[in-house]
């Protein structure tokens, strides 16, 4: 993964919200582009729908290799039976991703000489999805201390649930059964065994995969009840040389979720950036993420989105319908729990605002072994405050405007462009000279010197 690392002085984006004030009318803006998980080469996506102790966990992967070589070992809190495991719709992660991705929005300045406002919107969505598995082969016998708690087939996967007494036994069981376990895995299996976790081991059943008609492996979805609200990331780091990106979508009836044992930091948002970024929004977001990641000492989780799933503003994709929410694991739609307001009982068959009790939190964690020694622990909170990664393009009015208001307006543009350029430079670490070259030019020939001066000191 190429990372553009920058060490420019950083000023909190929050500050810029106050300095670059937007026209009040244009509060929400229009969605034009999104920065979804397609940006990252090695990104896992996990959706966790959780209410009280009940959890439905969906793990998506963009495994690129041969299906026969695919295998995954995931520590899980309880023994899972066949009915607790299923294969999820492959598009569901893409939907969650598209709905919650950081977004670029645009506004258009009106002709200052005739104060009528006009809006246009463009849609250039990028494609989506992505994860990282552990590789291996076949299964057969038993080894000391390892119990096969359950063994079944779901969709294109052969699944074994193991419990073990010793990590050595588990390691040799896996090896005897044809799983290629990376060196050093044994030491990492031990803490999970001792915490009485079980092991969910999945590999691809080639016959079923070939007859399924799918070209890619579908996400696996598991359901369990446990007070543990965590994701084991240590196993995935056994051999990893480079940072791995993990996008976690947490769906809760209560409110925003956060990481309990690392800091959760909001990604810079609500800032005005130059218009040319529209053409390179993916690069912008990647650079900005890298800069934020470095600035925060690489040991935080970034909050990219937190919103009630009943709506969005602006929408980067349609909100998920009740059926899609169910596919994503939301199991409480029919039986509202937690902080739900009681549904009105009058008015007959009025459609229920189903998704109003689903709150989505999108966390982006880029982790490495040295900065993330401990598995991720989460907690859901009652925080209903919305947040989104949102970047604003304010298109200037550059056509002829010869009235006094028009001249004053044009006189103010260079300063505004430069502020946007500086913001962009601070966020991404891009060179300010390079950015300035791409800024639009403003004709100031007919603008008086004092209008220019006034605009400058304003």
């Amino acid at each position: 993964m190429t990372m553009i690392r920058s060490f420019f002085a950083i000023v909190l984006s929050l500050f810029l919200v106050f300095t670059n004030s937007l026209p009040a009318l244009a509060f929400c803006g229009f969605y034009v582009a999104k920065a979804d998980t397609k940006l990252y080469n090695q990104a896992s996506q996990v959706a966790i729908a959780r209410a009280d102790d009940r959890t439905i966990l969906t793990m998506a992967n963009d495994y690129q290799g041969e299906a026969k070589d695919f295998a995954m070992v995931v520590p899980v809190p309880t023994v899972l039976k066949k009915e607790q495991v299923k294969v999820a719709n492959p598009t569901i992660m893409e939907r969650l991703d598209a709905f919650s991705a950081p977004r670029l929005v645009e506004y258009f300045d009106a002709n200052p000489c005739e104060p009528v406002r006009e809006y246009k919107s463009f849609g250039l969505p990028l494609p989506s999805a992505a994860p990282a598995p552990i590789a291996s082969n076949r299964s057969r016998e038993q080894a000391q201390g390892v119990t096969v708690e359950a063994q079944f087939n779901v969709g294109e996967y052969d699944i074994v649930i193991l419990s073990a007494k010793e990590s050595g036994g588990l390691e040799s069981w896996l090896q005897d059964n044809g799983y290629k376990i990376p060196n050093g895995a044994k030491d990492l299996l031990k803490p999970y065994i001792r915490q009485k976790l079980k092991f969910f081991v999945a590999k691809v059943n080639l016959e079923k995969f070939e007859t399924s008609g799918f070209t890619k492996l579908r996400p696996i979805q598991i359901a369990y009840e446990s007070p543990r609200f965590m994701l084991p990331i240590r196993l995935g780091m056994v051999n990893a040389q480079q940072a791995q990106d993990l996008i976690v979508y947490i769906l809760s009836p209560k409110g925003r979720a956060e990481v309990a044992n690392y800091r959760t930091v909001r990604i810079p948002s609500d800032v005005n950036i130059p218009q040319f970024v529209k053409g390179e929004f993916s690069d912008f977001y990647k650079s900005m993420f890298n800069t934020s990641y470095d600035r925060e000492d690489r040991n935080v989780a970034f909050l990219e989105y937190a919103w009630n799933m009943g709506n969005c503003d602006p929408c980067s994709a349609d909100p998920l319908n009740p059926d899609e929410l169910k596919q994503a694991g939301v199991f409480w739609l029919e039986q509202p729990i937690g902080t739900n307001k009681p549904q009105p009982i009058w008015g007959g068959r009025r459609p229920m605002p189903m998704s109003s009790n689903v709150f989505i939190t999108r966390l982006h964690v880029r982790y490495t072994r040295d900065k993330f020694p401990e598995d991720l622990m989460f907690q859901d909170t009652n925080n209903q405050e919305n947040f989104q990664g949102r970047y604003v393009m304010q298109h200037p009015y550059l056509n002829e405007s010869n009235c006094d208001a028009g001249k004053q307006y044009r006189a103010g543009l260079p300063k505004r462009f430069d502020q946007e350029a500086q913001t962009l430079s601070k966020l991404t670490g891009w060179k300010i000279e390079d950015i300035r070259k791409k800024l639009p030019t403003v004709n100031l020939a007919d603008v008086s010197w004092y209008d220019r001066f006034r605009a400058y000191v304003r």
């Binding site: 543990r228 956060e258 044992n261 800091r263 020694p373 401990e374 009652n382």
Partner: protein, 286 residues
């Protein structure tokens, strides 16, 4: 003779700076109206309770010469700031509830002229349990050593002023040891342990909440037993019940134990106005 500065003023200063620091550098979504609500609610409750207490001449008299003096409001101020640093709410009313009940608990839940619960702790636990609006973000400080160091220094200053540093040391030692044993048993590398221990929230708790001299046992051996109990409950709640905010509940559960321990180990009750002279030479001269 110079009048010494009340240790609680230091504490107010430190808590204010932590609040600002968290707001400015740690990306806390802190709302000024919530902080103001906490302060107003705590001070008002304190005022009303004092008023009620005096006019009816109930219970114990207030410390001599200090009826309604400004120092009566140090404690609710500390409570309000502590709540602002630790508790997060969705609406200000939840903070008002927490601050009010925290200060009320001092007046209503007392035994032998000592309040049973640490007010801020009581407020946090009640707000988390009884409102659907409040939570604690244990990850909010991160684990930078720098912050840990600052807590150690600032907390150390306050504790030295009031002579209860032994609670912090005892609690952290017991808790660190328990977690270390678990780490060895599980076979985690040591960076897992240090990551857990360096949590700014844990350190903050150990220095500013567990040390409140008005709610902890008076005698040293009692305090050691008491901190061991809190460490043990924290350890169990965190590792076996997976509670991310285990420390606050541990302190809440262990608080009533103080009564029993004070009865077994007799010692002088702590008084902000009669500090044990051996520890604070500065105050000794007064």
């Amino acid at each position: 003779m110079r009048t010494p500065i009340d240790a609680r003023l230091y504490q107010i200063g430190f808590l204010t700076s932590f609040l600002l620091l968290g707001f400015l550098t740690r990306d806390w979504q802190l709302h000024i109206e919530v902080v103001l609500t906490a302060i107003v609610a705590a001070l008002t409750t304190q005022y009303l309770c004092l008023k009620l207490k005096n006019s009816r001449n109930l219970l114990v008299p207030l410390p001599k010469g200090d009826l309604g003096g400004s120092s009566q409001f140090y404690s609710p101020m500390i409570t309000a700031l502590g709540l602002s640093v630790l508790l997060r709410v969705d609406h200000p009313w939840a903070m008002a509830f927490a601050a009010t009940i925290a200060v009320l608990s001092k007046f209503l839940l007392e035994f032998n002229q000592k309040h049973i619960f640490n007010p801020a702790n009581f407020g946090i636990v009640c707000a988390v349990l009884f409102t659907d609006e409040a939570w604690v973000s244990p990850g909010q400080w991160g684990e930078s050593m720098w912050y840990v160091g600052m807590f150690l220094i600032c907390g150390g200053l306050v504790l030295k002023k009031v002579g209860r540093w032994d609670t912090t040391i005892a609690f952290l030692s017991f808790y660190f040891a328990m977690e270390a044993l678990r780490n060895v048993y599980l076979g985690w590398t040591w960076d897992v342990w240090s990551h857990r221990m360096m949590s700014g929230s844990l350190i903050m708790f150990s220095f500013f909440m567990i040390t409140d001299p008005r709610t902890i046992p008076n005698a040293k051996p009692a305090r050691i037993i008491w901190t061991f109990t809190i460490a043990l409950i924290t350890f169990i709640l965190r590792n076996y019940f997976f509670m991310t905010t285990a420390v606050f509940f541990a302190l809440f559960l262990a608080a009533p134990l103080t009564i029993l321990l004070d009865w077994i180990f007799k010692d002088d009750r702590f008084d902000w106005f009669n500090l044990p002279s051996a520890i604070t030479p500065e105050i000794k001269s007064v």
